[in-house]
């Protein structure tokens, strides 16, 4: 009889240990990839509904430190533009047609939460560029910045 009772106790302890392990595994912390170093650092600020940053840069490697200060989420796309100052829109008339400027696009950041700081490494050749947010209505609402690289 005592032997059977001892087995029950052991089983209880084992179950508890398993439960604890499961509980603790939920608290695991994901590792984040290290940022790549860039030659130059340029600060770019996004807010509702404006992008601030340098208007001119010298050609070469550049790292954009992008901070979203606006209450809404924002993305950042960088496209090299030719003579035209405006970008083509999709049929909804509210967003830039990214397929049409795909060849001109030199870099992009997915939508970032308010307060997020992100980097975008670019290799910029001399020319005219535009930095913009392509969330619905944001480009037309004023979120674009012209940049000249010499």
């Amino acid at each position: 009889m005592w032997r059977a009772r001892a087995h029950i106790e052991l089983a209880c302890v084992a179950v508890t240990a398993a439960a604890l392990c499961l509980a603790l595994s939920g608290c695991g912390v994901a590792t984040r990839a290290g940022a790549q170093p860039a030659a130059r650092s340029v600060r770019v600020t996004e807010r509702d509904f404006r992008i601030s940053g340098p208007r001119t840069l010298t050609a070469g490697n550049v790292r954009l430190d992008v901070e979203n200060q606006g209450p809404d989420q924002h993305e950042l796309l960088v496209a090299r533009v030719g003579g035209s100052a405006t970008l083509p829109l999709r049929s909804d008339g509210l967003t830039v047609d990214e397929e049409r400027i795909q060849a001109a696009e030199v870099g992009s950041l997915e939508p970032g939460a308010p307060g997020a700081r992100r980097q975008l490494n670019l290799r910029l050749a001399p020319g005219r560029y535009v930095l913009f947010c392509n969330m619905s209505g944001h480009y037309l609402g004023g979120m674009h910045l012209d940049l000249v690289v010499r």
């Binding site: 939920g26 509702d48 939460a113 969330m135 619905s136 209505g137 609402g141």
Partner: protein, 786 residues
């Protein structure tokens, strides 16, 4: 300062553990429920926010369409849509009932939204909604849009009012959905955290509970083991009964009885009980009343063990559900008590009843007889030759003889009769319901039983028994009187020569009663020291000086006055009292003589003469007694003389031979020997040569007639001649007159004693006589004086 922890009874342990387990489990459960509720509430809220935020997009697009419709002259109510947009934006931020949009969807209740980021987004959305509505109103009112002040920081480049409106609607929808997305993400994270917390709390709680439960189980096991070992090692006997069946016995019971559980459980226990105790136990088990009882049970060796048991009713105790017997093994105590009782009422030597028990049985029988008028007989038995055995073979042999005799007697009597040893060699037998004929028959068998030779220390001997019988004819009677009558009858039997029985008759009381009484008084007198010695001087007729004394025992009885030795010495001889009496006389005489010697009153030739009884001599051992008395007093043997009668030393056979040998031994050591009352015993003169004799005493009967009876004078003359011829001294006893003195002197007697010189006097008075010492004047006086 360290203090000893308070004692915690074993039974109380574990209670707090159980409480702790319950509290832990309750706390964990509560925590889990709270966390679940919060997680559910968050999920519900998130769903509501998502629904309302998604609806903002629809509303914003509807508002644009409605503005266009109104501008095109169609029916629409953009103001309502604007107000729904605004209200929803407010509810998203501050909480409350979100308005129904199409009338068919339910109103959605939202909580105020928390979180800085989300609130900033929703505030922005509210601003955009207002910008949208203001722009729409301006379009419909055909006011220039440049006059509309935008609040949300947008810089719409398009000049076309409708395009502007559409951009603003897109911004509004976008920020609303983003806010919903933020809420969903945050909420997901929170819910995940809650679930994690819940799992952790549950796991930790479970672990704590299990640890506590384990501790509780361990404590319980220890506790159980503790109590089990207490019960198993306890010497207390525990039995549990359910109905009449034994359901449990402790180890101690098994140990005590040397039996296995199988023999005791069930009906086995009752089966081993003493038949008289079974019904008693059954009654106790049936009633369950608290009670004490003594049970007898057979152990494996078929011996009765006595249990002192206490009954406790625990039938209502769900842990026991039975009647519990707590018992102790009191067999030892019972045995001791029985032994003590036996000792108190039994003779230690023979195992027979003792005087007290015999008296008790006799009293009971007499009491019965008063009612039943039944006959009974009392027999007193005395062994005739016992003292001799005791004295010659020693007390050990005497004891063995008594044991052997007791066994023989025991074979003769019926179990219902009471056979007792009253003391010494005296036995008694009570025959209930026996008349004279039966009593006589038993008496004869008793005598016969001991007359057959008994084996004792490798030698065979037989003893005679004298039996006195008294028959009680029924009715009232006194045990003292019965015993006294039996004693008289026994005396009569002894007087008849022993080896016989006598039935008590009234006439015997007179004849032997006085003698018996005298014996009892003499016995007491010896114990109380009422016997004293007087001394009568013996005079050397040549030197005229005192050369010795004869020690004579005197008994001054407080009741009878001065008792003559002629009266009590025969009784002492008949009853054996002569032995202690003779020893006392010897001891006192030796001590006194030694004292005179130290005082210078007794010269080197002084002799103190002590009478030895024939019984003393025939009993044997007299030489030891004499030597012991001399040693004790520090007296040289030559100062002591023993007077023996010729009848005591003449008998043929073993007793006579032993007596002569002992006298010879004493004589060789220097003790003087005299033949007392010589000439009265018809002994052969030739035998005188075989005896170690120094002095012949001429009996007073011859001396008293010496003056006037020629025959007495002739005998005396011959005795003196005979003495001198054998080289012995002659002493004349009982000289009372000067004539007698002159005659004995003339006949050549060497020594004389008698009232003429001095009466027997106490030791201190004799000192004076010894100091004076000279009887010349008396001896030389002419005959006829005195």
């Amino acid at each position: 300062m360290h203090t000893a922890p308070a004692f915690r009874p074993f039974a109380a342990r574990g209670r707090w553990t159980i409480v702790a387990i319950l509290v832990t489990l309750a706390a964990v459960s509560c925590g889990s429920v709270v966390l679940s509720i919060r997680a559910t509430a968050r999920s519900q809220h998130r769903a509501g926010v998502v629904v309302v935020a998604a609806r903002q997009r629809t509303l914003a697009e509807r508002y644009v369409k409605e503005v266009l419709l109104v501008r095109a002259g169609e029916q629409a109510d953009p103001a309502l849509t604007a107000s729904l947009l605004d209200k929803s934006a407010h509810v998203l931020l501050a909480g409350g009932e979100a308005p129904s949009v199409n009338g068919d969807d339910d109103e959605t209740a939202l909580l105020p939204t928390s979180g800085r980021t989300v609130r900033a987004q929703l505030t922005q959305q509210q601003r955009l909604v207002r910008d949208l509505a203001a722009t729409g109103s301006a379009i419909l009112a055909h006011r220039p849009l440049s006059g509309v002040r935008l609040l949300a920081g947008e810089h719409v480049a398009a000049r076309d009012p409708v395009e502007r409106l559409r951009v603003l609607a897109a911004l509004t929808a976008n920020v609303a959905l983003n806010a919903a997305r933020t809420i969903a993400t945050t909420s997901d994270r929170n819910v995940n955290q809650l679930i994690t917390l819940q799992a952790t709390v549950g796991g930790v709680g479970l672990l704590i509970s299990l640890l506590l439960a384990w501790a509780l189980v361990a404590t319980t096991r220890r506790q159980t083991a503790h109590f089990r070992s207490l019960v198993t090692s306890s010497t207390d006997l525990v039995m549990v009964f359910r109905g009449a069946r034994c359901r449990y016995v402790s180890q101690s019971v098994l140990r005590m009885l040397g039996r296995g559980e199988g023999e005791l459980l069930g009906e086995g226990f009752s089966g081993l009980l003493h038949p008289d105790d079974r019904a008693h136990l059954a009654a106790m088990l049936a009633s369950g009343e608290p009670a004490e009882l003594v049970l007898r049970i057979l152990n494996r060796f078929n011996e009765w063990r006595h249990l002192d048991a206490h009954v406790t009713d625990l039938r209502h105790d769900r842990h026991v559900r039975g009647i519990v017997l707590n018992a102790r093994d009191v067999s030892e105590r019972v045995r001791l008590e029985e032994e003590l009782t036996r000792q108190a009422f039994h003779d230690g030597l023979t195992g027979l009843a003792n005087r007290a028990l015999f008296r008790d049985r006799l009293d009971q029988a007499l009491a019965r007889s008063v009612r039943s008028q039944e006959l009974m007989s009392v027999l007193l038995v005395d062994l005739d030759g016992f003292k001799q055995v005791n004295d010659t073979l020693g007390h050990d042999s005497g004891d063995q003889l008594l044991q052997a005799v007791a066994r023989r007697f025991d074979e003769v009597v019926r179990p219902a009769d009471t056979l007792a040893r009253l003391g010494g060699d005296e036995f008694a037998l009570l025959l209930d319901g026996a008349g004279e004929a039966q009593a006589e028959s038993v008496a004869r068998r008793l005598i016969e039983s001991v007359s057959k030779p008994l084996e004792l220390d490798g030698r065979e001997l037989s003893v005679n028994a004298s039996v006195g019988v008294v028959v009680h004819l029924g009715g009232h009677g006194e045990s003292d009187e019965l015993i006294r009558h039996a004693d008289i009858a026994m005396y009569a039997a002894k007087d008849a020569g022993g080896g016989a029985h006598r039935i008590f008759r009234a006439s015997m009381a007179q004849e032997y009663g006085d003698m018996l009484e005298l014996e009892h008084e003499l016995r007491d007198a010896i114990e109380r020291g009422e016997l004293t010695l007087h001394y009568q001087p013996e005079i050397d007729l040549n030197s005229r000086r005192v050369v010795g004394v004869e020690a004579l025992v005197r008994w001054e009885s407080p009741r009878r006055g001065l008792v003559s030795p002629g009266e009590f010495i025969p009784v002492a001889e008949a009853t054996g009292l002569i032995m202690p009496l003779g020893e006392i006389v010897l001891r006192d005489a030796c001590r006194q003589t030694a004292q005179w010697r130290r005082d210078g009153l007794a010269g080197d030739s002084f002799v103190t003469w002590v009478n030895l009884s024939g019984r003393q001599l025939s009993a044997g051992g007299v030489s030891d007694i004499v030597r012991h008395a001399l040693d004790e007093a520090g007296l040289p043997p030559s100062f002591l003389g023993l007077e023996v009668t010729e009848t005591a030393i003449v008998p043929e056979g073993a007793a006579g031979d032993r007596a002569r040998a002992e006298l010879q031994e004493l004589h060789d050591q220097g003790v003087r020997i005299a033949i007392d009352d010589f000439g009265t015993g018809f002994s052969s003169l030739g035998q005188l040569r075989r005896f170690p004799i120094d002095v012949i005493k001429v009996d007073r009967s011859f001396v008293q007639g010496i003056e006037h009876d020629a025959r007495d004078a002739a005998i005396t003359a011959n005795l003196v001649t005979l003495a001198h011829a054998l080289g012995l001294l002659a002493i004349a006893e009982g000289i009372e007159s000067g004539g007698q003195l002159a005659s004995v002197r003339e006949l050549g007697c060497d020594l004389a004693q008698g009232f003429l010189f001095a009466r027997p006097v106490p030791a201190d008075e004799l000192g004076k006589v010894l100091a004076d010492g000279d009887f010349s004047s008396l001896i030389d006086a002419p005959a006829g004086v005195g």
